[in-house]
Symmetry: C2
Subunit: 332 residues, 2 copies
């Protein structure tokens, strides 16, 4: 951060040293530009000697768009998003794209973040774990910048491209499984109240329970956090005479917290007197300590769809729902 009084070598410097024009230098560093092999060699040599490297900022300024994708991220502690971030990173690397990372904990701050993103001339925006206001969605659209909502959908006038897991099918599968295994006093632990994902899972869960002839579930909110899930579990199991025999948590991290709380505070082994199910199938769900029944969200496929959209590799513009699978383990 020491302010660069230092000047990096420029194409001019290289040109002077190699005895060519500055545009020749530019061509030497451009794939498939017409330049003689001999001259290119000389230029590269001069560049090496000077430690020259094309200034991507200047290049992007001309091209009007950079090879950078803006990613708005929250949820560092959730392995599902960590995995997704890794997949994106790999996928982008293969295409020569870079990620400019922005953090947003709440939807409130997202707009500023995305606004700043735009001034970086990013070539696409990926929103993980947050929603975008219609105002900014419109602004992105105007600038021709593709926006992807990852694991979120917008419900409203502005329908941004969204890639999600199959929230409804997954929640229904869990409900059906609870019903089939004779559970009757069923509870639902919600994520953020304003999360489309949590709401969709809840609605589908409720509907499937009703279809199975079961009453509506008790409802607690865990806010997608470990602490929230622990508190919610305590609330659910506070009264010994009226405990649920099954809990569906809106994601795996909460389900795991629930499992641990059940064991350590209530002496209940999940899968016996009470079933616990989650959503995501994060790697941890398969660990022997948890053996969590859950509905999978295939991260790689979801990321592939998102990347295909922003690179225009697929023609389609419609949002996509990636089907998962019910993963039965010991907890339910």
């Amino acid at each position: 951060m020491t302010d660069n009084s230092f000047r990096n070598p420029t194409a001019h410097d290289v040109a002077r040293l190699a005895g060519v024009s500055q545009s020749a230098v530019s061509r030497a560093f451009t794939e498939g530009a017409s330049i003689s092999a001999e001259k290119r060699r000389r230029i590269i040599a001069a560049a090496d000697q000077l430690g020259y490297r094309p200034n991507i900022l200047a290049r992007s300024l001309i091209k009007g768009s950079s090879k950078v994708v803006g990613v708005v991220f929250g949820q560092f502690e959730n392995p599902f998003f960590a995995q997704a971030l890794e997949c994106f990173s790999d996928s982008f690397a293969r295409r020569g794209l870079r990620m400019l990372l922005f953090t947003a904990q709440t939807n409130a701050t997202v707009d500023e973040q995305v606004a700043e993103l735009l001034s970086y001339q990013v070539s696409a925006v990926i929103l993980m774990a947050v929603n975008l206001s219609s105002k900014l969605a419109a602004e992105c659209a105007r600038s021709n910048i593709p926006v992807v909502m990852f694991n979120r959908t917008t419900e409203g006038d502005h329908a941004a491209f969204a890639v999600t897991g199959d929230n409804r099918a997954g929640a229904a599968a869990i409900a059906t499984h609870f019903a089939a295994t004779g559970r009757r006093r069923i509870a639902f632990m919600a994520g953020y109240e304003d999360s489309s994902t949590s709401r969709q899972r809840e609605a589908a869960f409720l509907a499937a329970l009703v279809r199975a002839g079961l009453p509506a579930p008790r409802r607690v909110a865990g806010n997608y956090s470990r602490e929230g899930a622990i508190a919610a579990t305590r609330e659910l199991f506070a009264s010994p005479s009226d405990r649920p025999d099954a809990v569906f948590c809106a994601n795996d991290m909460m389900a795991i917290a629930t499992i641990e709380t059940l064991r350590s505070e209530f002496g209940i082994e999940p899968g016996t007197s009470c079933s616990v199910a989650g959503f995501d199938d994060i790697p941890m769900a398969g660990w022997p300590s948890f053996s969590l029944t859950t509905y999978s969200q295939p991260v790689e496929k979801m990321v592939a769809h998102a990347v295909a959209f922003i690179t225009g590799e697929d023609g389609g513009r419609a949002s996509v729902i990636v089907p998962g699978k019910l993963i039965l383990r010991d907890s339910a």
Copy 2:
């Protein structure tokens, strides 16, 4: 990624609409520039109407440095690094800095990554989970770009600024604790073979055991991965007659895998016939399922040092070792 045939509004466009010069527009968006309040108001209004936003690329091109920090990252699955990434992200956000994220799994690929980073005119580079070749370290130094090795040190001629936990004190504390609790058949599970962190922990662990009059530990390699740790644990406990009574794993993630493997495959409850200890004190270490004894690395403090270095907030240039604490839990 749809190539922008679209042209974003520029300062000229705003100037024309507001009936002022382009430089007036520039001033209106520059903190503390001399411009009348009235004119600024008019310009901002025009800018809003057009959806104008200063082009940061152009600004950076002039200033010679962007408000972007390059971060080379691996280890998405390790919460320690996820936490660190989050801390960096927050800390940067408060200073108006952005993160350009690069992925590198091996040291081999780091050089290219950093090379590209440089052409983005980043104002600093943070290396997590990888080492930098001396060639590139030199190149960064020449460009006046501060480089921080996070949780890594360089051993050699080129000493980049490094911020680490107290690998030696931590490993020694674990060794002392093992000795004090009567453990004698002690094992060490290494991370990557070329990781300075793992090597420092190993050396200090060995030295402390020797000082305590104990034999050198058996050694297995877990490569900082869950699978590696599980395989290593199987190897350690394969012969029922010759099992260790304590295992020190080079990080918490491996220690947790070890705990699970001990329980699920060998029927051993960690902390009874065999102690298990880790390093990092990731949040998971405190979960009831693991209750892992470990030595903490204070992520926030480590990040604070790194940020202070790249922003030049501290005068010092010497690498820093952030002390942690021995955290005693049930596993040892």
